[in-house]
Amino acid sequence: MSALLADALIVLGLAVITVGVYGVVRLPDVYTQLHAASKAAFLGAAALVASAAVEGDAATVTRAIVIVVLLTVTTPVAAHAIARAAHRREEPMRTEGAVDES
């Protein structure tokens, strides 16, 4: 039963991380690519880490929890830093109908 859960988490994580990579390859500018990289790819990686913890011993579960908490805290900060750098360097927004409200 727990093996089935681990397999399901792996397939889910693969699907979500694939959506994230596809978004970064296809979206037009860095501001929209950040959506894919900081939400979809992060959640996919978190699902893969969770699949390692399903059948694991105490050492694996502890490390998995630490990794997921760390990623949850650091990913938004890194995404904000990238977006701020892009905006300060005045990179254009190439999305259709984009409005810069700053």
């Binding site: 994230g20 650091t74 750098a85 300060r88």
Partner: protein, 89 residues
């Protein structure tokens, strides 16, 4: 964990890794390059977690943890350098 899912996931993540590396080398701007590096680290963390789950090697997760920390600091330093050439000021 069944072997088919493990090896399928291994191959699929390796393909994603290759796609991200190609994206990294063809990125249009410096911030897009930093973003692709960040994404590369996330895919690598997934790969290490997969290896840790297959045969209960907790040290693979240690490597993933170190990679996550390092990538966070590297992204912040690179972004602040791009902004005003003062990464630690």
């Amino acid at each position: 964990m069944s072997n088919l899912v493990f090896y399928g996931a291994l191959v699929w993540l390796a393909v994603l890794l290759g796609v991200v590396v190609v994206r990294l080398s063809t990125a249009g701007s410096a911030t897009q390059r930093i973003l692709a590096l960040d994404l590369l680290t996330l895919v690598l963390i997934g790969l290490l977690a997969l290896a840790a789950g297959e045969d209960q090697r907790a040290y693979a997760l240690d490597a993933a943890l170190a990679l996550a920390l390092l990538s966070f600091v590297a992204t912040l330093a690179a972004c602040r350098y791009l902004e005003d050439r003062k990464p630690f000021g």
